[in-house]
Structures are given as structure tokens and as C-alpha cells.
Symmetry: C2
């Protein structure tokens, strides 16, 4: 079984290392040796790791994929192009593909799956979501006899690190982000993490699997964590909650459809996701029969991602030797993805209010006019420091956001000082 590797950064180098150090085990598990016959990188001359045999390097990925002696293609380059063309060429030639490329899958998953199905070959991507945590396989196979209600994921290590530090040390967003950068958890340009693009791609992939429906990153509603303040974190703490950046995919209980979204939210400290600290990832799944499940582990890093890739390589290689395919795409349900406005959520709202009688009546009136029911309200402080802390019952997001808009215009409200969605409770 001859492998081609596209990309040789941190993950690729770790794959090369594991293919060498675990060669005997892998051969025993597959039934024949796995041989790496080529590695495509943009600049072969810049690959200096002693692990990598320079004779295997090439800058021509397309030619490597097309080589007659290549049986299986591994892609850890990332990004849409040219990865998309290389993988389509591999699949069209009947060569199975193992990829960690979440961006590509979240935008062109359907195209790739169609190509794999047409050629009767495999497309595996366990490493694309939450690194080493087995998640694709459980969603695609273990829960195939069940009905998933909701997936709540902490799928971005950078944002979870930042929010953990803000919660545990009282750091500001900027301080926590600087610390994440110093530790190597944040990129030089952290916007893909902080603004939720990375998590949105993973949310699309999880939603596709959980609900048997094609979902792309363009279907995913997205809010970053850049506006989360130390006051939000403190407010969550007072309510027995913690703020997490969540990827949410859920089946609507109101209408036929699903909601797929990424945003910061309060969750109760008693929720299993609340204990997921620093750069760890976890995905919490609620299914009708299985109940609550959680998958926890390292969501990024060279070795964990390489582990997930090699698990797929073993499965795909076994399939190829046996002349069979693994389970392909399942998109029969084709549920509509609801716009965010029609998604039912709950809000936590902090209001700085004037010290006059009638404030609560005015505020409550705004909620009532949008048909939003208040679950709890608490007044804090007095005089110019007076504030109201409200948590709503579940309501359509458009009604909640319209309520907040109206609150901003009320004479009795000096400022809407915090708005956060609330997840992880009974809905």
C-alpha cells in the first residue's frame, strides 16, 4: 500500500514519524506494509526535519497524486485551493483520500463526496474536527440508529484557552489573547479562531453528520468572542455559569429544520462542557435514545491530528485491500438550515438603569411586546450604579435581538452592558 502525503508541516512531519516508528503495528493492522512514496510541499528545499527523507520530496503535488504507484492520498495542506483540485483528481482516479482539511470539507464537502461515490472510493476526515477526538466515526456510525437532537462543541482550542484564562484569572480579553499567543495557542493573525471561522467550518461538518443534511460554512451563523468582556465573565460566574465559545448544531423543535451556529454562550458550571479547560476540545451530543454523550481530548497539535489521520489511513487501507468502501456521505434528510432569527435561544441581558421607580415595568414591557418571557430578573446596586440582570426563557433569536434593540432606546436604560446567549440547560 503506497501512500502520498500532501503537506509536511507540523502534522505532516508527525505522520512521517509515526509511519516509521509504528510501521510494524500498522502493517499488522492493515495486513500489508504502508509505504510512503512521495511528499509534496511548496518548497522542498525548506524541509529540514531529519525525519523526512529528502528523496521523497517534490513540489509537484498534482504529479504525485497522478503517479501510478500511489494507492492512497493523505492531505494536510489545508485551505481550499489547490487542495480541492488535488483531492478531486485523486478521487476521480479511484484513489481513496484521507484529509484533515476542515475548510475544504465545509465548503466543498458535497463535491468531494460525490466524486468519491462516483469512483467507488473512500473519503475519510476524522482529523478535520477536534483533532484526535473520535467524533466523525461516532456521529456517522455509532449514532446511526439514533436521532441526534443537538451537538454542542468546544472545537477551537485558542478561544477556549482565552475564555478559560478570563474566567480563572480575571484577565481581560486582550491579556488572555496575548498569553495564548505567547504559548503558541494563537496564530500571529488570530482572526480565524477569534472570529469563529475555524469553529464554523467544524460546525458545518458536525451538522452534516448529525442530521444527514448537506451543510456548508455559508449556512453557519457566526459570532466571535472579541466582544466578551471581563464583566460578562463575572456576570456568568454570579449566575453559576461559565462563558464558552460553542459550535451548536441542533434540530428545531418548532419547525422542520436545523440551526447551525457559532457564538459565545453561558453554560451552567454543572454542565460537563464547563470543565473543559484551556486548549482542550470536547463535543457534547444529545440523542433521543443514547441520552447525553461527551467526547473529550486534544483538539489540535501535530501528534493528536496525526493520530486521527493514521486511524483513517488504516481503515481506508483495509477497505482498499478488501475491495470495499466504508460508509459514504449520508444526506438523505436534506433538512433546511434555519436562519438565525428563527433559531430558538435564550438570552442573558445586563442593563445599566436609572434609579427611578417604574424601571422594571418599562423593561418588562419591552420584553412583553416581543413575546419574550423572562425567566429571572435581579436588581444589583443602587443609584447610578443600579443594574438589572435578566435571563429569558427560550424565544426566537429575532424576537430576542429586537427586544435588546428596543431596550437600548428606553429612557430608563442607560446602557445595555452585556448580552450573551445561554446554552446547555433544558430548552
Amino acid at each position: 500500500m503506497n501512500l502520498a502525503l500532501l503537506g509536511c508541516g507540523v502534522v505532516g512531519t508527525e505522520i512521517v514519524r509515526l509511519l516509521r516508528t509504528s510501521a510494524d503495528d500498522l502493517a499488522a493492522r492493515v495486513g500489508e506494509p504502508l509505504r510512503l512514496v512521495g511528499i509534496a510541499v511548496r518548497r522542498p528545499e525548506r524541509v529540514r526535519d531529519a525525519e523526512v527523507d529528502p528523496a521523497l520530496l517534490t513540489s509537484d503535488a498534482a504529479a504525485l497524486v497522478a503517479r501510478d504507484d500511489v494507492d492512497l492520498v493523505i492531505e494536510v495542506v489545508g485551505g481550499i485551493e489547490p487542495a480541492r483540485q488535488w483531492l478531486l483528481a485523486a478521487l476521480n482516479a479511484g484513489k481513496p483520500v484521507v484529509t484533515a482539511n476542515k475548510a475544504l470539507l465545509a465548503s466543498y464537502g458535497a463535491t468531494l463526496h460525490d466524486a468519491a461515490a462516483a469512483a467507488g472510493t473512500d473519503l475519510y476526515y476524522e482529523a478535520a474536527v477536534a483533532g484526535a477526538i473520535p467524533l466523525i466515526r461516532p456521529l456517522r456510525e455509532s449514532l446511526a440508529g439514533d436521532r441526534v437532537r443537538r451537538v454542542l462543541g468546544i472545537v477551537n482550542g485558542t478561544t477556549n484557552y482565552v475564555l478559560t484564562r478570563m474566567d480563572e484569572t480575571g484577565a481581560s480579553f486582550a491579556e488572555a489573547l496575548a498569553e495564548a499567543g505567547a504559548l503558541g495557542y494563537a496564530e500571529a493573525d488570530p482572526s480565524a479562531d477569534i472570529d469563529g471561522y475555524d469553529a464554523a467550518a467544524k460546525a458545518a461538518i458536525m451538522a452534516q453528520l448529525a442530521f444527514h443534511t448537506r451543510v456548508t460554512i455559508d449556512d453557519v451563523y457566526r459570532e466571535g468572542i472579541g466582544d466578551v468582556t471581563a464583566a460578562d465573565i463575572a456576570s456568568a460566574r454570579e449566575l453559576g455559569c461559565v462563558v464558552k465559545a460553542l459550535a451548536v448544531a441542533e434540530r428545531s423543535t418548532q419547525s422542520e429544520g436545523i440551526s447551525v451556529r457559532v457564538h459565545p454562550a453561558m453554560i451552567p458550571r454543572s454542565h460537563p462542557l464547563a470543565g473543559v479547560r484551556e486548549a482542550f476540545n470536547a463535543v457534547f451530543v444529545e440523542a433521543e435514545a443514547a441520552g447525553q454523550l461527551m467526547f473529550y481530548g486534544q483538539g489540535a497539535g501535530g501528534a493528536p491530528t496525526a493520530s486521527a489521520v493514521l486511524g483513517d489511513v488504516v481503515a481506508v487501507a483495509r477497505n482498499r485491500i478488501a475491495g470495499r468502501q466504508g460508509p459514504g456521505e449520508s444526506s438523505y434528510a436534506a433538512l433546511p438550515v434555519l436562519p438565525m432569527g428563527r433559531t430558538v435561544t435564550r438570552y442573558h441581558v445586563n442593563l445599566d438603569v436609572t434609579d427611578k421607580t417604574g424601571v422594571l415595568a418599562a423593561v418588562a414591557g419591552a420584553f412583553a411586546r416581543h413575546d419574550v418571557s423572562i425567566r429571572s430578573v435581579r436588581q444589583e446596586g443602587r443609584g447610578d450604579d443600579a443594574s438589572l440582570v435578566l435571563v429569558t426563557h427560550a424565544a426566537p433569536d429575532e424576537a430576542l435581538s429586537a427586544t435588546v434593540e428596543e431596550l437600548r432606546g428606553l429612557a430608563e436604560v442607560r446602557a445595555v452592558s452585556g448580552v450573551l446567549r445561554v446554552e446547555g440547560g433544558e430548552s
Copy 2:
């Protein structure tokens, strides 16, 4: 695709219900309808659930399995015989089997796997360990490219409930067990749970998958939780630990081999398993590349177990339609299972000691004579209440237990009031 169901208790009834309520989804996922054509129970006249069509019931399981129109056999009877004969008959006839029978797999897994391989058909058993928690598939497939170091599982809900209550309410073992019984978490005869037989079967199955080695329940060292006292729990608390009943399967770092065992142990409260409360199950996996993973959820109950069974049914049915098999047994590594004495563990020891000078020297001498290194020692109380709390470094279990034996004979030691293994830290 015609299914035969063997057994129709809590899990079986839930399977029948899900096959009806999810019929459309299951048909779409499999590619053709799943039709239940027969249900074997010991006393058909006693099945009264409205969900179960009396026309499907039979008391002759062997005849049902042998019927020409049965394509796939689901077994939720439990126990060794006659389940073993029925499943062997099914496999020998080339009919795939989905089973939740941990006892059978832990004793006759090799026989069943051999029969499945010889007939070119599937044997799936996700429900046999930790109910709905996807665990078999991740161990067998997702981690197939990695090298598992250790599996630590809380795989018995009854014992975890009892120990949780002892920890959180200060209840005695007997009180907590009575409470578990009242809530339906404990059987009328709780010995399979309390004495660790249930967990030992699951440990054997997990060890087999994690280490590609045939392991039976007879290879598993087993201690129950019946001797855990309120004082042990309190002592753990003072050390920042919690007592859990663990199923452990680990690769020896000293010699070629694995250790498979079930016993109560202290783990640090900061360990992800420490937060697994009441009847929940979780399995913590350490692998060389993937790092730390944890799988959490409901480990028992009709609906969660039925979910796991049906996930397997969908996979096996897809395989059968495509004329392929899923991954079979992997036992190439054939590692020896080390006796408990050669397993390296750590001990926590509580000693009631006399109030004389030289006590610590005498105690330390006993440890030194068995080459056991002391990690920490703390004296508590004075006079007749004096006690020593010791935690050792890692050492062979036979050296640790010999040390404890010698301590019992020392004049300076009035009583060895507590001995517990310590897990979940750096070894």
C-alpha cells in the same frame, strides 16, 4: 433486511420501539427497510408490552436463528449459555450478529470472532461496554493508527453511584448501596456489580481492542468495592483525591505485556474521570500520539443500550447489502497478560501507630526492605490517635502488598486501617 431479536426485556423492548419509531430514518440510512421478523423469549406469554407484536414471539430461539428469511441476529439475552450456541449457529450460517452480551464476549470472544471470520460475516458489540458511549469503534478504528498506553474506565454505574454518594454525602457503603437499590441502580443481588465481575468482563473487552490481544475475563485481576470505608473516602478527600471503581488496561513500561484489572483506586480530583458522577460511565484513554481522550455518557439503561445496538445494526446491515464485512478481530500483538504481582501500581496506606519515637523509622524500614519508595508521608493526631498516611511511588504490586503484610506485623503499627491503589497521575 430481516432481523431476529433474541431477548425482549428492557433493552429488547426499546429496540422494538426504536425500530418502529425510527423506521423511515433507519431505512434511509441502510438503503432498505429493516423488518423485525421474530422475537425469541423464554416465556412468550409473559411479554405484555403493547409495543411488542405477539405474533412475532417465539420461545424457540434456535429455530428463529435458523429461519431462511432471517438476515441478521440481535442478541440481548445476556449470559453464556444458551446465547453462545445461538450466536455460533447464526455466525456459522453466515448471518451477522449484533450483541450486547459482555459476559459472553469476555469468555468466548475468540470463538465467536473465529466463527465470524470463517463465515465471512460481522460480529458487532458496541453495546457490550459502556452502553451508548461509542467506545468499541473508537478503540478498534479511530485509534488504529496510534499506540494505546492505558485505558481507565468507570464502566459500572452501580459502583460509581455508590462511591459518588459516599463521597458527596458521607454515607457508609451499606447506606449508599441501599440508596442505589431504591433508585433501581442496583440489582437485587448486587454482587456482579459490587464485586467487579461486570467491570471485569468490560475490562477484558477493552483490553482486547486496545492492545490487539486476546483477553478473557479469567485474565482480569479483580477486587470489589465492598471494603471501601467512609474513612478511605475521607482520606482520599484530604489528599485531593476521589475513590472510583476503575477498570484498567495498560501496557507495561517494564516488560513486554499488559495488565488488566478492576479495583477501587484514588484518582486526583483534577482528573477528568473524577467529575463522572452517579450512574454515568466514562472511559479515559491515553495514547502515544492522540494524548488524553475521554468518552462520557450513560453506560446502561434500555434506551442508551438500544441506541448502541441499532448503530451496529445499521452498520452491519449496510455491510451485508454491500456484500462486505466490517473490521474483524485484531489480535496480532498477542501480548502476555501479566499477573497482578508484576503490575506496577502505587499505594496509599493509612496506619494507626503507637505514640513512640522511632515509629516512622520502623515503618520506613519495612518499605525500604521491599524496595518501595515513599512519595509522601504525613502524621496525623497524637497519642493513641496517631496515624501515618503514606503514598508510595510506583512499584510492583507484589512488593507493595508484601510491604503491607510486613507493616501488619510491626510492633509500632496498631492497625493497617486503609490500603488503596492510586491511579490517574503520572506513573
